[in-house]
Structures are given as C-alpha cells and as structure tokens.
C-alpha cells in the first residue's frame, strides 16, 4: 500500500471527523446517515466491484443485520453492541448459506438467483409478521440504543459511531484489496478461468468474498437500526438491492472511495433536486444518464482513469 493511498483515505477519514465539529445540524445528520449507508455500499463493492459478483439481492444481507439487531433488542432486550454483533453475524451466516447455493451459478443466473433469495427473505419478513412486525416494522427500544452509557439517539454520538463504523469499513476494504486474498478477488473478476488455471480454489474465494460482503452489509443494517431506531421490511425490498448497485456504479465499482462518493452524490442529487422542482426524478435521471455517458466507470473510476492510475 503506497503512502499516497494511505494519506488519501486517512485524509477522508480525518475530514469526516473534522466535519463533525463544523457542519450545520442538517448536513451533520445527513452525513451520519450517508456514512452508515456507504458501509452498505462498501460491502456491496467487495462482491460486485472487486469480485465481479453482480448480486441483486444484497438487501437481504442489509435486512439481516437490521432485523438481527432490532429483533434481538425488541424481543430479548439485548444491549446495543451485542445486538449489533448478532445482526452482523446474521448477515454473514445468511451470505454463507445463500453463497453455497447461489454460487453454483454465475453471471446473469447469479443475479437472478440472488434476487429470488432476496424476495424470499423479504416475503418471509411479511409472513412471520407476528414476530417481525411485518411491513409496518417497529421502533427499536431505547434500551438497545445505548452504548457505554451514551444514547445513540444523540446527534453527536450517532455521528461519531457512524464515523467509526465507516472508517473501519473504508480502511478495512483498502487493507483487504491490498492483501493477496484481495488481489485474487480482482483476478476472479478479471478472468476467473485464468485464476482457476493458476491453482486458486475460486469457488471458496468467491464464497469468502460473499460472506465478507454480506457481513459488512449487515453491519450497516445493524448500525442503521441502532442509530436511527427503526426496523422495517422496506429495507429488505428489491429497491434497496438496486440502491447499493447504483451507489457503487455511480461512485466507481472496484474503487475503495467509490461507494462513499456514490452514496453521497446520490443523496444530495435527490435532496437538491427536490428543492428545485416536483419533477426531481427527471433531474436525477438526466444526471445519471449524463454520468453514465461521460463517466462510465463512475466518479472515482473516472478520476483513476484520467489522473491517478493506481488509485485503489
């Protein structure tokens, strides 16, 4: 890992920390949420951006974390941190099981199979409504939103917890893709046959990548439940799988910073466009088409292509 790479990513982390002290209240709250959702995008990027696994079912992993954390708190009174770990473990376990089955397929078939699994998970949440509170969802009890005596509903605590999680996910993904394991993932994306020819057990590595991806996505879901206090089936719906794909594509698939940039860009694009016109989706659509035409590798991907060839 070059010093320049490290400086760039640590610099972003430092800037986000400094913003905690200077941002106006609205943008402070928005950035906390963006950091949590960017962790979801980082998780998705490990599977899609680095390993080439185009999933349309990642909302089930986000939902597993969300419900794992929330239900542990609601039904069993589990405190925030253990509940967070339970949520993350739920996502990892679900990713392992889904991976064992879905990774028998590849390409478009993998995309469809993950979509189907995700729909099963979503409908299961509705079916077991007596336990999950179905489509209405539920509010996470305050007792499960307290960490070391600090309320996670407090704006400052929320931001800093989101920042710690995001920093960990960002630097963790940077570290991961600079490891031999991460380089094998990239090799799988570029040419799986060749990787197999070189002696790598590609199925096992893809499964590992999916489990890591699912765990990170679930950590984001669990954090959302803890920090924002609501758990609902909407988050496990297909649109949240597409959001992750969209954020990663916009920011730059296969770049460490891309998921954050894509999430940030998409949020403010919608938020600012709503202030201009009721037809804000049209503005968002035009911007997305423009970006696709002129920066097909995403914002960070385009920067890498033009200015910084070895940007991770």
């Amino acid at each position: 890992m070059s010093r320049r790479d490290l400086t760039l990513h640590l610099g972003l982390v430092a800037v986000l920390f400094l913003l905690h002290f200077i941002l106006p209240a609205y943008h402070h709250g928005v950035l906390a949420r963006i950091m949590v959702m960017a962790v979801y995008a980082i998780g998705y990027n490990i599977a899609f951006g680095y390993t080439g696994l185009l999933s349309l079912g990642h909302a089930m992993f986000f939902g597993a974390g969300l419900y794992g954390m929330g239900l542990a708190g609601l039904h069993y009174g589990v405190p925030a941190f253990p509940a967070f770990l339970i949520g993350t473990a739920c996502g990892a376990a679900l990713a392992f099981v889904v991976g064992l089955l879905a990774l028998r397929t590849e390409g478009v078939s993998f995309m469809i199979v993950t979509l189907m699994f995700s729909q099963v998970a979503y409908l299961a949440l509705l079916y077991f409504g007596a336990f999950t509170h179905g489509d209405d969802g539920f509010v996470v009890p305050d007792a499960s939103r307290t960490l070391m005596g600090l309320s996670l509903s407090d704006e400052g605590t929320r931001y800093l917890v989101a920042w710690v999680l995001f920093s960990g996910a960002l630097l963790g993904s940077l570290w991961l893709i600079r490891q031999p394991f991460g380089r094998v993932l990239i090799a799988l994306r570029e040419n799986e046959e060749r990787a197999r020819l070189l002696g790598y057990d590609t199925k096992r590595r893809k499964l590992a990548a999916l489990v890591i991806s699912g765990a990170v996505s679930a950590a984001s879901g669990a954090a959302y439940a803890a920090l924002f206090g609501y758990v609902g089936a909407t988050f496990a719906g297909v649109q949240y799988s597409i959001f992750a794909l969209l954020w990663v594509l916009l920011g730059g698939a296969g770049t460490v910073l891309g998921p954050f940039v894509g999430t940030l860009f998409m949020f403010y694009l919608i938020d600012l466009a709503t202030g201009l016109t009721d037809a804000y989706m049209l503005i968002a659509g035009v911007a997305l088409v423009g970006l696709t035409l002129f920066a097909p590798q995403g914002i960070v991907g385009e920067l890498r292509r033009r200015f910084w060839k070895d940007l991770p």
């Binding site: 709250g29 409908l123 209405d136 509010v139 609501y230 609902g232 909407t234 709503t274 989706m281």
Partner: protein, 436 residues
C-alpha cells in the same frame, strides 16, 4: 469662509436647486412607492409564517393519496390564512416528497427541523413511513402530526411528539363496523385480507369484535401481496358464509372484484368491504358492476349526500370535489375522500393547539404538544367536516363517527353512521406520562 457663504449672498436663504429637488423627490417617491413592502416587512417581524413541514407521498405506492392529501392541505391552509391565520400569523406548507419510504421520511424530519426551520411536521398515510419517521421526530423534538389511520399511535409504539388528532385509527374503524355487519348483514363472516400488517389489523380486530357480539368468523383468507389472480381463493369460502368482509388494496383490486363476481354470479352472500380497496378508483370502472348492492366503510362519504350540512359542502368546494367525489376539473380524477379529510382536520387542530398555548415559535413546541393533549371534544363544523371528534390526550388518538355506505346505482349512499361510542376501546398507553 465656507463654500456656502462663498455662493450665497449674505442675509438670503438659499433654496434647493432643481437637481436637488428632483433627487429628493426621487428618493421620496421611491420610499413612498415601496412603503407597502416596508410595511409588509415590518409586519413580518411579528407575523412571520408558521412553517409546517408536509411529508407528502408524491411518489411510490402512496402517490394517489399524496396528491389529494396535498390538495386538501393547501385548501385548509388557504382557509385558515383567510380567517386570519394563527394568532395573526399565516401558515405556510413546506412540502417534500417522502417517496412513501420510511428512510426518506426520517430524512425529511431532519430537513424540516434543521434546514427548513419548520415549526412542526405533518402528513403521511402509510404506517411504515410514519413508524420509520416518528423516532427521528422525537429525537429532534419536532411535533409530528400524522394522518395515517394506523393503530401505531394509540398502541403506544411511538412517542410523545407524535399525535394523530385528525383521523381515526383502523382499530376503532373496524370495531365500529361489527355491530352493523352482525345486526344487518349476517353473523357468519368470511374475511379476505392482504397477508401483511394492514390485513392483520382487520383480521384481529374485527374477529374479536364480531365474536363479542355473538357472531363468528368462519374463515380467514389471507392473500399474499404478490398475487395477481384470486380465483383459487374463492373456493375456500365456506358455504355457510353469510357475509364476505374484504379489504384488498393495491393494483390487483379490480381483478379481485371482477373474479369474485364471476365466481358467485347472481347468487352471492352479503358483501362488506373497506373503501381503502377503491380509494381513488372510479366506481364506474369496468368490472366493478358486481359491487352493486354491496356495502363499504367510508371515513367520510365520497359522494355528496342529500342531507350534507353546509360546512361539508363548503369543505368539498374548497377542496375542489364534485358531487361524485372527483376533481371538479377532471371527473376521472377520483379522490381519496375517506382519508384526506384528516389533513383538513389535523391542520385545524394544529391551529387550535397553537392558539391555546399562544404559540410564538419553536421554543413552544412542547407547549403545543401539551395543549393538544388537553383537547377533548371537538364539534362538527367547518373545522371538522367529517363529524364531531373526541381526542384522547393520553393515547394521542382521535375518535369520530364512521360511515357505512351502500352501492346504489353505481354510487355510494350512506345507510348507517356509527357513533363515536361505537369506536372507543380501552387505552393502551398514556403518553402524557412519558418525558419529552
């Protein structure tokens, strides 16, 4: 020697030059011309608008409701402002699309509180959106007046900052229907409902209510939300069924009604449904002929009734409703009449609450909540056109009359009005004991 003495002869008073006079006139004229603006600005120091953040279902599954919620809210604000506003201050709606999405609506709470500097938040029908946004409203200490009809407020799931003073909840609606169904239509009921929380609210509350009256639910048929054809469910309806109770919603409802008609033909049991199935749907749509002679719950009658009081007509005129409950500008643009009145009434409750606590700004948000909690009976009239209301400050939920209408000649005619007493149930929470 001064310049003046240089130019002015001693003992004379120098008058203004023509240029100076023109300048003075110009400045004075400008000041006079802009006086109304300055006066308006000076007035604004004491009469700044009260900003109400309106979370609107402009897109997503709730869009048809959002469109009408918006129209009704705009009309109510126009009326309130024409009557002098709130303590002399006009109301101003700050409308944002929540996408019928709980995450976006939670974000809007932050936007209303921290960026738009709204005094309070208002709106939103779908339960999951309200439940997703309410925790953030409480954290931001932002009064959140919902128009959702969900039981989530009165169930105690939410918080002290969230109130529902303008529309009754589904539990009270369903409970109030049981006596009419039992006494008039039949005692053996088969329920058909969507297989998720909204349907379960109906299943659980109606089953308990009809059993308490001595009737029975002989079958409960839950239909998955992804279903597009319903023919396989109708054979599950027991022969002994005297009444079918249905509460299907979503795009499949027309198919549901059409297939039910084909299944039963001319000999059918009595049929009772919730108009939620057909809100914003024209009753003269092809396939709905089968509904002739069936009954519906309505929160407020869609069609103008012959005995409608003047204030109901005034409300409908203000909102822009024709006699059939459609837009006066487009007969195919059918309203969500059974729910949207809640926006009108909620805004009037906000006005009354603000006047009661002499609301002057966001520092009085808590006082506003406390003032509304003190409210109880509200008479029917221009502020409450749906009917008289009784607000329960402990549960933050309002109770009111419910209407049962029969489809006659393709229109809905009110045949029974359930009283407020029929809708009451024991308190499940006391929000007034919760801290702010």
């Amino acid at each position: 020697m001064t310049e003046t003495s240089k130019k002015t002869p001693a003992g004379t008073v120098r008058g203004p030059s023509r240029r100076q006079a023109l300048k003075t006139l110009a400045v004075g004229g400008t000041a006079a011309a802009t006086l109304p603006l300055w006066a308006r600005y000076a007035g604004a120091q004491t009469g700044e608008p009260i900003r109400i953040g309106f979370a609107k279902h402009a897109t997503g599954i709730g869009a048809s409701y959002g469109r009408w919620y918006d129209r009704v809210s705009q009309a109510a604000v126009k009326k309130i402002n024409a009557e002098g506003g709130v303590n002399g201050r006009p109301l101003e709606l700050v409308t944002e699309d929540d996408g019928t999405d709980p995450k976006r609506c939670a974000e809007l709470m932050e936007k209303f509180a921290n960026q738009s500097k709204c005094d309070l938040a208002f709106g939103t029908l779908f339960s999951h959106v309200v439940i997703g946004a309410a925790p953030r409203a409480a954290e931001l200490k932002l009064p959140y007046f919902v128009v959702s009809e969900g039981h989530h407020v009165a169930s105690g799931m939410l918080n002290r900052w969230t109130l529902q003073p303008g529309i009754t909840d589904v539990k009270s609606q369903v409970k109030a229907m049981a006596p009419f169904v039992h006494d008039t239509l039949g005692k053996k009921v088969t329920m058909i409902f969507p297989d998720y929380a909204f349907g379960y609210d109906h299943r659980d509350n109606f089953t308990a209510a009809i059993k308490a009256l001595g009737g029975d639910v002989v079958a409960q048929i839950a239909i998955p939300p992804t279903e597009t054809s319903f023919t396989k469910y109708f054979p599950k309806i027991p022969r002994e069924t005297e009444v079918i109770y249905h509460v299907m919603i979503g795009p499949g409802v027309l198919t549901f009604v059409k297939e039910m008609g084909e299944f039963f033909g001319p000999s059918r049991p009595e049929i009772f449904g919730f108009i939620d199935s057909l809100e914003a749907v024209n009753l003269s749509s092809p396939g709905l002929e089968f509904l002739e002679g069936t009954y519906f719950w309505e929160g407020m009658p869609r069609y103008l009734q012959p005995d409608a009081p003047g204030y109901v007509k005034a409300y409908r005129d203000a909102v822009g409703l024709d006699a059939n409950g459609a837009s006066v500008t487009d007969a195919n643009d059918v309203s969500t009449a059974a729910h949207m009145f809640g926006c009108w009434e909620t805004l009037h409750v906000i006005k009354a609450g603000m006047e009661a606590c002499n609301y002057s700004g966001i520092a009085d948000r808590q006082a506003l909540i406390e003032a509304v909690e003190q409210m109880s009976d509200m008479p029917a009239g221009p502020d409450h056109p749906q009917g008289a209301k009784r607000f329960n400050g402990k549960t933050h939920q309002v109770f009111g009359p419910q209407y049962i209408s029969k489809v006659e000649g393709g229109k809905l005619s009110v045949v029974h009005t359930a009283s407020i007493e029929d809708t009451l149930y024991p308190d499940e929470v006391d929000y007034t004991k919760m801290s702010f």
